[in-house]
Every structure is written in structure tokens, then in C-alpha cells.
């Protein structure tokens, strides 16, 4: 039933490797972008707050497929922005990462904001009273505690991100879902085996994320 694995016809590991890279780069990018968005949303500058709020509400409520396809059509095909790649596969890969970051950043931002809300306002005040700047208060006092409180929701965001990488197939990134589509066509008689293999592959990718974050959440919890 699983003979297709031995045929050598499919580069299963290679496809999952692309998925893993998509997930990893997008995760790093969305953590950074999400933190920046959260900083904007709590900043004292109305313009930044306005941008942060609008961006998050707009992008978060747009289907990921639309975001990614928009990256492909809007940037690549209309504006010719290819992020320095010339093979179409690479273009898809890079634009997919961009789309995933743009999209997942909003969820990171909201997870962080819920974490920020667990930090008593008095601590930020005490920090300001010491003479720390807004940026210092944020990075030295508020965010370190917010991240710790947000570990569990962030784990959910990153697991969702890993699975969302499958949408990148829509713009031709050679990741697992694209290979799965091909295999479903060729191996119609072993349909469930194909599904099982891919489901297993994703569990291998996401389960450690969940376990690690669960462990980290306990380790890092701030005692109050």
C-alpha cells in the first residue's frame, strides 16, 4: 500500500524540507512583524496606533489564500517584484513567505497584545517614573513579560502557520501540499495512504512545536 514511497519517484523529504523552511522563515518573520505591530498598537502616537489597528483588522480577516495570491499577482505579475529570485519556484517560495508573514504577523500581534494586557499597568508607570523612554519601557519591562504570558497562544499561532504553508502551493512553491496534489493524481488507488503520509509529516513538524512551547510556557511563567 505504501509502495509509492519506495518508487523513488517522489521527493517526499525534499517537499517537507521546503515546508519546514517556509514555516521557519515565516515564523521568524511573523514574530518580528507581529511584535512591531503590537508596539504600534500600544504606542502613544495616534498615527501608528491607527495603522496597526487598521492593518491587523484588515489582514486578519482576509483569507490567507487571498493574501498569498495577492502577493503573487500584485507583486510578481503586476509590479514585477520577485524579491531577487528568478526561478518561478523560488519566486513562489519567497512571495509565499512574504504573504505568510503579512498574515501571521496579525495573529502574533494579537497574541502579544493579550500578553501585554496581563502586565499590570503600574509596572509600566513605575518604569516611566524611573525615566525610561517609551521604547525602553516596552522592550525592558512590558514585552518580556508579555512574551512569557503569550507563549501558549503563540504556539497555536505557529502550529497554524505550519499548516497554512500548504496554501503556498497555490502560487507554485514546491512544498508538501503541491507534492500531495501530484501524488493524489498518480496514486489514486492508495489515496488514504497518501493522506496518512502527509498527515504524519505535518504532525512531525507541529507536535514538537506544541510540546516545546508547552514546556517553555511553564518554565517562563512570571510569578505574581
Amino acid at each position: 500500500m505504501f509502495d509509492f514511497l519506495d518508487s523513488g519517484q517522489y521527493d517526499l523529504l525534499g517537499a517537507f524540507w521546503v515546508t519546514a523552511k517556509l514555516a521557519l522563515y515565516s515564523a521568524i518573520g511573523s514574530l518580528i512583524w507581529g511584535t512591531a505591530l503590537a508596539a504600534m498598537r500600544v504606542s502613544p502616537v495616534p498615527l501608528m496606533r491607527g495603522f496597526g489597528t487598521t492593518y491587523v483588522n484588515l489582514v486578519r480577516n482576509t483569507p490567507l489564500t487571498v493574501v498569498i495570491v495577492a502577493c503573487s499577482f500584485g507583486l510578481d505579475q503586476t509590479l514585477g517584484i520577485t524579491l531577487g529570485a528568478d526561478r518561478s519556484e523560488d519566486i513562489g517560495f519567497r512571495l509565499a513567505i512574504l504573504g505568510l508573514i503579512a498574515y501571521t504577523g496579525t495573529f502574533v500581534c494579537e497574541a502579544l497584545r493579550s500578553g501585554i494586557n496581563t502586565v499590570p499597568a503600574g509596572q509600566a508607570e513605575a518604569a516611566r517614573a524611573l525615566g525610561l523612554s517609551f521604547f525602553q519601557v516596552l522592550t525592558l519591562v512590558v514585552l518580556p513579560q508579555a512574551f512569557r504570558a503569550a507563549v501558549a497562544p503563540l504556539a497555536n499561532v505557529l502550529i497554524a502557520l505550519t499548516k497554512n504553508t500548504t496554501v503556498a502551493a497555490a502560487i507554485g512553491a514546491a512544498e508538501a501540499a503541491l507534492l500531495m496534489r501530484e501524488m493524489i493524481e498518480n496514486e489514486a488507488d492508495a489515496l488514504f495512504a497518501v493522506f496518512a503520509v502527509f498527515a504524519f509529516g505535518f504532525i512531525v513538524l507541529t507536535l514538537p512545536t506544541g510540546l516545546f512551547f508547552g514546556w517553555a510556557a511553564k518554565r517562563l511563567a512570571v510569578k505574581r
Binding site: 499590570p120 503600574g122 509596572q123 508607570e125 513605575a126 518604569a127 516611566r128 517614573a129 524611573l130 525615566g131 525610561l132 523612554s133 525602553q136 525592558l140 519591562v141 518580556p144 513579560q145 512569557r148 512570571v222 510569578k223 505574581r224
Partner: protein, 265 residues
């Protein structure tokens, strides 16, 4: 100086005029609204170097707000506040620098929960004063010893009692070498048996010559440590006097009424 009526139309001299007096904190004609609520009404208050001023008054009279305007945690609608001759800047780096000269101790301690006691006392020194780490640690340890929590230096705030946390908060503020210390009901959140350990630290500070503004209902502290009592009601300074005078012979009805309530139970 403090008796002189302060009119808003006469600004204090430009930068180059020498500091005329020993006035450290000067509020003149300060007004503040929260929406329709007029929390601070034409506040004129001058605090001299080394003076200990206790602010008392009924709940909601604006004592905390007064305290918080002095380091601009609250902005004011009109009037001026100067610290050591310099007007309070509106924002930015200048404001941050001025705040670092004004120590503040809160009712709820507000220690940084993710940092150890020692780190709490070092943070401002390193990040604001740019003190070297080693020197900052030495100073922090000395201050923690001074307030009697030296042995707790490596614990996290949550592992300390309320009284210990408040003493750490005092050390944290002192670490900046402030010109004046503001205390907003520093003992109100404490169990009775811990109140004294905090008051003792404050008393010592007063004896050492620190300029202090203390919002408190601890009459014992007011009598023993304060140079002046400022009584507030409904956003106004209703009267000010020495503690003996104020407690034995309050002039206003508001003050009499207030004192009869807090002294008779």
C-alpha cells in the same frame, strides 16, 4: 516665596537667572480635568529643599493626581510645574531625564515581576543613568541593605512580603539619586504588621534630609516626620500648616470634619 501670590502672567526668569531660592518643586496655578471632573483646581504649592510635606484629604480629593502631575505621569491643563527651577518638559527625552530626578513610590509597589529584586534596583541606573553594571550592583546592594532587604536581593518580587516589596520599591527609586521622592499611600496596601517597617525607612529618609511629598493617612508619620501638612478636598488645597497646628487646631470645617472621621476610629 511660598506666600507670594503666583500669577500666571509672570513667568519665572529665563534660564540664565540664578536660582533665587531653595524651592525645589513649585506648582503654580495648576488645573487638571478628567472629562467634566475638575480634579485639580488652581493648585499653588511650593516645596523647599529638604522639606517633608504630607498630603492628606478625603478619598477622591485629588491627592494621587497631584502627586502624579509632579512627574507628569498625568499632564496638566494649565499652570506650571517646575522642579529645581526647570519647568516640566511636555514629553520626550527631556521629560524622561526630569522624571529620573523625581523618585516615585506607589501604593501597589509595582516592582518588575520578571526581574529579581537586585535587577529591579539596577535597571534604572544602567538604562537611564548609564551607570556601569558593577557600580550599579554595588549601589543597589548598599541601598537594599539600607532598607533592610539585603538578604532578599536574588529573589523575585512575588517571593517577598508586601512590606519587603515596598522597601525594594523605595530602594529602586533611591537608586536614581532623586532630588525629591513622591510617595502615594505607600502603606495603604500593607498588612498592619508591615506598615511600620516601611514607615521607619521613610522616617530615616526624612531625617537624612530627603525632600519628600507623602500622601498618607498615617497620622503618626505626619506628626513625627512632616514639616508641613497639606490638606486637600475637592481638588483644592484647603489648608496647610505644621502638623501640630493642623492636628490640634484645624481651621477649615472640611479639615475638622475629616480629622474627626479619621481620628475617631
Amino acid at each position: 516665596m511660598s506666600g507670594e501670590s503666583v500669577s500666571k502672567s509672570v513667568p519665572r526668569g529665563p534660564e540664565d537667572t540664578p536660582r533665587a531660592t531653595d524651592d525645589l518643586v513649585v506648582l503654580s496655578g495648576v488645573n487638571k480635568h478628567f472629562g467634566a471632573l475638575h480634579v485639580l483646581q488652581d493648585i499653588d504649592l511650593t516645596i523647599s529643599r529638604g522639606e517633608v510635606v504630607v498630603v492628606i484629604g478625603p478619598s477622591g480629593s485629588g491627592k494621587s493626581t497631584l502627586c502624579r502631575t509632579i512627574n507628569r505621569l498625568e499632564s496638566v491643563d494649565s499652570g506650571t510645574i517646575t522642579i529645581d527651577g526647570k519647568p516640566l518638559p511636555a514629553e520626550g527625552r527631556e521629560l524622561a531625564r526630569l522624571r529620573s530626578d523625581v523618585g516615585m513610590v506607589f501604593q501597589s509597589f509595582n516592582l518588575f515581576a520578571h526581574k529579581t529584586v537586585l535587577e529591579n534596583v539596577m535597571l534604572g541606573q544602567i538604562k537611564v543613568r548609564k551607570t556601569e553594571k558593577k557600580a550599579a550592583e554595588e549601589k543597589a546592594r548598599a541601598l537594599l541593605d539600607r532598607v533592610g532587604v539585603g538578604t532578599q536581593a536574588d529573589k523575585y518580587p512575588a517571593q517577598l512580603s508586601g512590606g519587603q516589596q515596598q522597601r525594594v520599591a523605595i530602594a529602586r527609586a533611591l537608586a536614581m539619586g532623586p532630588k525629591v521622592m513622591l510617595f502615594d499611600e505607600p502603606t495603604s496596601a500593607l498588612d498592619p504588621e508591615m506598615i511600620n517597617e516601611v514607615l521607619e525607612v521613610m522616617q530615616q529618609l526624612a531625617r537624612d534630609g530627603m525632600t519628600m511629598v507623602v500622601v498618607t493617612h498615617e497620622m503618626g508619620f505626619a506628626r513625627s516626620a512632616a514639616n508641613r501638612v497639606v490638606f486637600m478636598a475637592d481638588g483644592r488645597i484647603v489648608e496647610q500648616a505644621t502638623p501640630e497646628e493642623f492636628f490640634s487646631n484645624p481651621r477649615s470645617d472640611r479639615a475638622k470634619d475629616f480629622l474627626s472621621k479619621i481620628l475617631h476610629h
